[in-house]
Amino acid sequence: MRSAHAMRMEMRGGPHVEVYHYSAVFVVVTALLAVVIQAFLGRLGPVGKFVELPLLVTIYFGLSRRNASRGLLLGMTIGLMQDGISRVPVGLYGISKTVVGYLSSTIGARIDVEHPLSRLAFGFIFFHVQQVVLAATQRVLLGRPVPFFDRRLLLASLVNAVLAPLLFPLLDRFRKAD
């Protein structure tokens, strides 16, 4: 049975894009695990700090579920949890991941994002989207001169871009087609 969203897309003459569903438990557990593992990764030294699992999970569910409202709410929840256990003001990651969740859901509803290369590209692009929102928020609200882009951020974005096509197929195993 197709979702109302898929039917609307088809009626509008747009491309048929598959919409996937996940059990609520799986989404919650995955989001929680992403934040928990992220906290562990921080202990592994510089390499661990390059990885942004909560971001990758936000992107994945945004691209797969293709529902902007759910995407932004999940992004907000994950971001706020990340804020809650970090030493940053609460709302920083919340805002940035809300934006990422919304954008990834919107894009996922319009184009096919199954190909590993497109997943790699989304991993790279959304990392920088998050960074731009993070930097802008901190510059405007906190007055901190946080860079929008530098070499370390480039490296981190590449690491996450590579991880996206590796992680997403694992999560695909738990999805149910519309």
Binding site: L32, L33, V35, V36, I37, A39, F40, A68, S69, L72, L73, M76, L80, M81, D83, G84, I85, P89, V90, G91, L92, G94, I95, T98, V99, Y102, S105, T106, T137, L141, L142
Partner: protein, 301 residues
């Protein structure tokens, strides 16, 4: 009531959510209270998972470490066992060498104590093939100047006499062989008799009158009557005596462990063993001896 088009709902929600968070952030920055409630919720939600993750991680790490340690311990144990085996063999070799060294040193001291006595060191290379006779083979023969009926001794006492002599080896009849007989006397009373073999560890002394008094442990030495051994070489000690008919029955414990012989001295002449210096090298029990021709052997010449 204001109707929001369906397609604009997500955008409206995004705006609302962002606004709330920006306000939250601004409020937090202004008050500096660190949005404690959200932190508490986040920590309450995340920390049990972290704790479980830490427990699983540490359990796995500990299990893996135990496994690796166990594996290492097993390998190490095997290596140590091999090392122990090697060391035990080495230790045995060294002990054997030390004992051999000690025996050779005693032989050398004995010879040095009697430089005028013509004697030759020999190594025991084999024993008799049957249980009824008490003989052994030494690595000296005619080429070394050996002949039949030459006395064979150690620093502790007499061993026997040469029986069959070949080019490079000789057969020695031990004093405990049933065919053996040695002229003997009690060291203290100088009473003469004959010590015969019984085919056993102990010997028997014959021809000692019943009225002769003696005690256990009394030394029995060669008398020189047999024309093979010089006088006063130790044979053994009295192990027991009883009255017999017509002579006393005396059992002698040999001075030499005849079943553990490795090096011996062959007396090439019957010269009396007069020590060079009575104060030194007298571990022969007061027995006399001479120098021997050199021969290729692992034992002192």
């Amino acid at each position: 009531m204001l109707e929001v088009p369906f397609r604009h709902r997500p955008l409206l929600l995004l705006t609302a959510v962002l606004l709330i968070q920006i306000l939250l952030l601004a409020f937090e920055i202004r008050r500096g209270d660190n949005a404690r409630l959200i932190r508490i919720w986040a920590v309450e939600i995340v920390t049990p998972w972290q704790r479980a993750g830490t427990w699983v991680g540490s359990t796995l790490h500990s299990g893996w470490k135990d496994y690796v340690d166990l594996h290492h311990a097993r390998v190490e144990n095997q290596q140590l066992r091999e090392q122990i085996t090697k060391l035990a063999i080495r230790n045995h070799q060294l002990e054997s060498q030390a004992r051999e060294q000690e025996r050779l040193e005693r032989l050398l001291n004995f010879r040095e104590a009697y430089p005028s006595v013509n004697m030759l060191a020999a190594e025991v290379i084999g024993a008799n093939a049957d249980a009824s006779s008490q003989t052994l083979y030494i690595n000296r023969g005619q080429r070394d100047g050996l002949a039949r009926d030459m006395g064979v001794i150690t620093p502790d006492g007499i061993v026997g006499k040469t029986l069959e002599v070949f080019a490079g080896t000789a057969q020695v009849l031990l004093i405990n062989d049933k065919e053996s007989g040695v002229g003997a006397m009690l060291a203290s009373s100088r009473t003469h008799g004959v010590v015969k073999g019984l085919g056993q560890a102990q010997l028997r002394m014959d021809y000692v009158p019943n009225d002769e008094k003696m005690s256990n442990g009394e030394a029995v030495v060669t008398s020189g009557d047999d024309q093979i051994f010089p006088k006063d070489l130790p044979i053994g000690t009295v192990a027991g005596a009883s009255a017999g008919n017509p002579f006393k029955i005396i059992f002698i414990q040999p001075a030499v462990r005849l079943d553990r012989l490795e090096e011996v001295l062959v007396l090439l002449s019957r010269d009396e063993l007069a020590p060079q210096n009575m104060g030194e090298g007298s571990n022969s029990g007061g027995a006399p001896v001479t120098n021997a021709p050199a021969a290729a052997s692992g034992v002192p010449q």
